[in-house]
């Protein structure tokens, strides 16, 4: 046997090994393949024996080639062994419908985000456009332009975080109203979701929370329209056509008339109670004028929703702090799309 013939034979064996090892589907067949290709009666051992018929250099080369092929086949076998043991392929033909599947690829969306999206979708269907504004604000956009001058007692209701550079963290998303009115001419119909900050921390307050602000400025906008939009929103949001809603006079410096809106709910004892759910009102003429909108031609309404409060009501959460602990036992409860 010449070195060349041997080389061709070796290539053939390797080819064959590649194909048959690839097709092996269980460990016992793999053992059979090992015996076939590397066992005592294998072609490779046969070649080994025939080496003695070759002379010096030829013998060395052939030996080297033979060893390489042997190593390659060994590698194929051990790779296959790993892949077989990983996939438990012994089980492949048997299927148990009641078995759990493999690791799930479903995560979770934070309930605050879900509730926010929920609300935004409803408002978008009512043709509100969703916009965002900065969380670091200046005094003008957060207070002055909203008819809250320095001396106004209402500033006491907003415990504000100030930064070292005299800027502040917005205390409400109403600042986005001001920014939008500064950039756009009426008609304006926006909602602005986002984080807001107040220096307050106890069972019912966290220093950061989320709001959704709504604003509509156009000709002939009335309080009666505001009632309509809020009614549609709340009934949709709580998925209750018969939801009882009431508007009650209140006070915000940036709206007049101002209202707080309550919904009726059943407490744990089954008693009917009113629960405050949002604040709203007709945009104060001073706010329009400060944004260079003629309050004799245009009017508008604005509303502000507390997202945490909506989430607590809708999802039955009683402890506000849960939202910011990010405990998986909490987060994973809200896996529904």
């Amino acid at each position: 046997m010449s070195g060349d013939t041997l080389k061709k034979d070796l290539e053939r064996v390797l080819d064959e090994a590649l194909k048959s090892i690839k097709d092996v589907s269980n460990l016992s067949d793999l053992e059979k393949a090992r015996v076939h290709f590397l066992g005592k009666k294998s072609a490779l051992i046969g070649f080994m024996k025939s080496l003695s018929g070759l002379n010096g250099e030829e013998k060395a080369n052939a030996g080297k080639n033979l060893n390489t092929v042997k190593q390659q086949i060994n590698q194929l076998l051990s790779d296959k062994k790993i892949s077989l043991s990983n996939s438990n392929s012994n089980l492949k033909d048997e299927f148990d419908l009641s078995m759990p599947g493999k690791a799930s690829s479903i995560g979770s969306i934070h309930p605050i985000t879900k509730i926010m999206n929920n609300a935004i979708e409803i408002f978008e269907s009512l043709k509100f456009e969703c916009v965002e504004g900065p969380e670091i604000e200046d005094d003008f956009h957060n207070f002055t332009a909203l008819n809250i001058p320095e001396s106004h007692p209402a500033r006491a209701m907003h415990d504000t975080f100030y930064l070292e550079n005299s800027f502040l963290l917005r205390t409400h998303t109403s600042s986005v109203q001001v920014r939008t009115m500064g950039e756009q001419n009426p008609p304006i119909r926006i909602i602005a979701p986002g984080k807001v900050y107040r220096k307050d921390s106890d069972i019912t307050h966290t220093p950061m929370f989320h709001q959704i602000e709504g604003l509509y400025v156009d000709k002939n906008v009335s309080f009666s329209n505001l009632k309509s939009v809020i009614n549609i929103f709340l009934k949709n949001f709580f998925e209750e056509d018969d939801l009882r809603i009431r508007f009650r006079p209140s006070y915000f410096p940036f709206t007049e008339p101002s209202a707080e809106v309550d919904i009726e709910y059943l407490d744990s004892k089954g008693n009917k109670n009113w629960l405050e759910i949002l604040g709203c009102g007709m945009v104060h003429p001073n706010v329009l004028e400060m944004a260079n909108i003629d309050s004799k031609i245009y009017s508008g309404y604005a509303f502000g929703l507390g997202v945490e409060r909506l989430a607590m009501l809708k999802l039955g959460i009683t402890d506000l702090r849960l939202f910011y602990e990010n405990d998986l036992r909490f987060l994973k409860q809200f896996q529904r799309i």
Partner: protein, 653 residues
């Protein structure tokens, strides 16, 4: 504001239940926070909005109830004549330097106050009912009058007054020991009542300790002044010293009350023979007293902006019931002196809506002529990203924007040596004294928290939020730790590595039709408490900008001719980036190369030091004809030649 039902019944007839009464108050904007039964009475706690200072008294609330519904019929007004004084005004001198702040200063003397004297029983009872501590009979009567009609007053021990009384601005660093037991350091913004040797009170806020009335006091000076709301605004808040008095003055007290309150006081004193009292003196600076504001009423505007069908006459009747004066000829109204919240037309729109009843206003659907923009909003973009993470078993976290000084938090997401924190000057705690510059440290804390609670072997968290450094920037961070997936029966999970993050970056770029190179992101690992966390942070602001400039998705024709694949396995310097290899391949200009596919990366045994082994598959396909194997071989030779030239690669056998 706390008041009892029986106190209100002093002024109005109440024929309905307390629940109904509270409902009427709430629905008129005087929200009843709490009602509790006390003996044969009810204690009503009203959460008043800051604009309604006129309701900071029993009489004010009664008046309001009468405007809300005439069923709360007014009772006849008590005699308001001033009784004959029983002692003289001792002739102290007053010097009101700040007449714009104190345009009206009323006072009277009480003499021969004995330690035996008592306030009438109904005064003590009513004050106790609403939770006001009894202090001294005269002081208690003053408090009673304040709650009853709304005028805050103050009593000074007249025997301790030295010389002329001045109302002036405080001097810088002037110290006052107040009745609450605290010392206050004042400045030139504070208004004080002082005599020649001491501060007698912080005007309209609190009296000073030294000159206060005690059990031994024989003679008393009673102050009943009007301080303007604009001057009083913020004064108490800055000193963190809110009193019943400051609360009323900064919101606005009726300037007609100072005399009335003193008359009321002398009536009570006379009736109960408590002590001697002088005549009443008022020091007025008429031009500084607020004027009633005349406002022209536009009935059409009122109908339109509320959205109700109401007659002109009915509108005026509502305003009259609220105590306004109406002039038919000029169609104007004047606000009552106690209503500081009625000054412009919008105030009257609100007043009409309020007394008409918000619940009676119909619901009118809108006719909107706006088409919202069709563009992706930032919110939609972040939601699509959230959905991607949701589908890949990541959990979304929301953390506070505040952080403390901490090593991990000292780096912003782009550079490690970030020092420009946005510090909060009035932070609540050292744990929350600045704004975070990255989300990663919060997310690592979330994983550590969860790891303490349970022992999962796989954590995948993400958050999308604004971080603050030199600028505010909206970013996305995802942090992973441990196994790629949760424990399961079918196979053991590999550990997370940084290339898992690369996949995310690639997927996100694909979601929005961009290339990975369009994104601004970092992928790193970091150790915390002995555990390794792998993370990616991506700029959402940058992504939004890129998406805005994006072209529309469109179809490209593809060929159905067969393809040929050739693989190359080679050893190359470890330091050479994959990107530069791709660049060289691209530069060979082989047009039939449809795709390159990295199928193997290996470093270790059998590969020389500082080298890596790469396996790349090349897929060739021609648009017009079936490729031959010879052509494919030719292409691969060309590519191989270039790679050899550029990187001195060695083919693996």
């Amino acid at each position: 504001m706390k008041v009892t039902r029986s106190w209100l019944e002093n002024y109005i007839e109440i024929t309905n239940t307390t629940d109904e009464l509270c409902h009427d108050l709430t629905m008129a904007g005087l929200e009843v926070d709490d009602v509790s039964k006390i003996e044969n009475d009810y204690l009503i706690d009203i959460d008043l909005t800051p604009n309604r200072s006129d309701c900071l008294s029993a009489r004010g609330i009664s008046r309001e109830l009468n405007s809300i519904n005439p069923r709360y019929k007014k009772k006849p007004i008590a005699d308001s004549s001033e009784p004959n004084p029983t002692c003289k005004n001792t002739g102290l001198k007053f010097n009101i330097l700040e007449s714009n702040i104190c345009p009206r200063y009323g006072y009277m003397y009480l003499e021969n106050v004995s330690s035996e004297c008592r306030a009438p029983e109904y005064v003590n009872k009513r004050l106790s009912d609403i939770g006001i501590t009894l202090i001294h009979p005269i002081v208690d009567i003053l408090n009673y009058i304040m709650i009853d009609i709304g005028q805050p007053m103050h009593a000074y021990d007249a025997d301790k007054i030295n010389g002329e009384i001045t109302i002036r601005m405080a001097k810088d660093k002037e110290i006052m020991s107040a009745l609450d037991g605290n010392k206050y350091k004042l400045n030139s913004e504070n208004i004080v009542v002082s005599d020649s040797s001491q501060i007698m009170s912080l005007a309209g806020i609190i009296g000073s300790e030294e000159i206060s009335v005690s059990g031994n006091t024989k003679n008393i000076l009673v102050e009943s002044a009007f301080f303007t709301p604009s001057a009083m605004a913020n004064k108490a808040r800055i000193l963190k010293l809110q009193t019943e008095s400051s609360h009323r003055f900064e919101r606005g007290v009726d300037y007609n009350l100072p005399r009335e309150a003193l008359v009321y006081l002398s009536q009570i004193i006379e009736e109960n023979k408590i002590c001697d009292f002088s005549n009443i003196d008022l020091i007025d600076h008429e031009h500084c007293i607020p004027q009633e504001k005349k406002v022209k009423i536009n009935q059409d505007n009122i109908r339109k902006s509320i959205g109700i069908d109401i007659s002109d006459e009915a509108i005026i009747n509502i305003l009259l019931s609220a105590g306004c004066k109406f002039d038919k000829k000029s169609n104007t109204v004047l606000n009552p002196s106690y209503r500081y919240d009625l000054g412009i037309h919008a105030d009257y729109v609100e007043e009409v809506a309020r007394l008409y009843g918000y619940d009676n206003i119909p619901v009118t659907s809108e006719k909107i002529n706006i088409e919202p923009s069709k563009k992706y909003t930032p919110f939609e973009i972040t939601n699509k990203i959230r959905q991607y993470f949701y589908n890949n078993s990541y959990s979304e976290c929301i953390n506070y924007s505040f952080v403390s000084d901490n090593l991990l938090e000292n780096s912003n997401w782009k550079s490690e040596d970030f020092k420009n924190h946005n510090k909060i000057s009035n932070y609540m705690s050292l744990e929350q004294n600045k704004l975070r510059s990255n989300l990663v440290s919060s997310l690592i804390r979330n994983i550590e928290y969860n790891n303490n609670m349970s022992s999962e072997n796989s954590y995948r968290f993400f958050e999308i939020s604004t971080v603050f450094s030199d600028n505010a920037e909206k970013v996305l961070s995802c942090v992973v730790n441990g196994d790629k997936h949760e424990e399961q029966w079918s196979s053991k999970s590999p550990k997370f590595d940084k290339y898992d993050m690369t996949t995310i970056a690639e997927d996100i770029s694909r979601l929005f039709g961009l290339n990975k190179s369009d994104l601004s992101y970092v992928i790193k690992d970091v150790k915390s408490n002995g555990k390794k966390y792998i993370y990616m942070t991506l700029s959402v602001d940058n992504l939004i900008r890129k998406i805005t400039n994006n072209t529309k998705e469109h179809h490209v024709n593809y060929t159905k001719l067969p393809y040929i694949r050739r693989d190359l396995s080679f050893v190359i310097d470890e330091s050479i980036e994959y990107q530069s290899i791709l660049k060289i391949i691209e530069e060979t200009n082989v047009h039939s190369l449809k795709k390159t596919l990295l199928f193997d990366l290996y470093i270790g045994k059998n590969i020389p030091d500082k080298k890596k082994s790469l396996g790349i598959g090349f897929i060739f396909q021609d648009k017009e004809k079936t490729l031959t194997h010879e052509e494919a071989d030719g292409y691969i030779e060309k590519i191989l030649g270039q790679l050899k030239d550029q990187f001195k690669i060695e083919l693996r056998k």
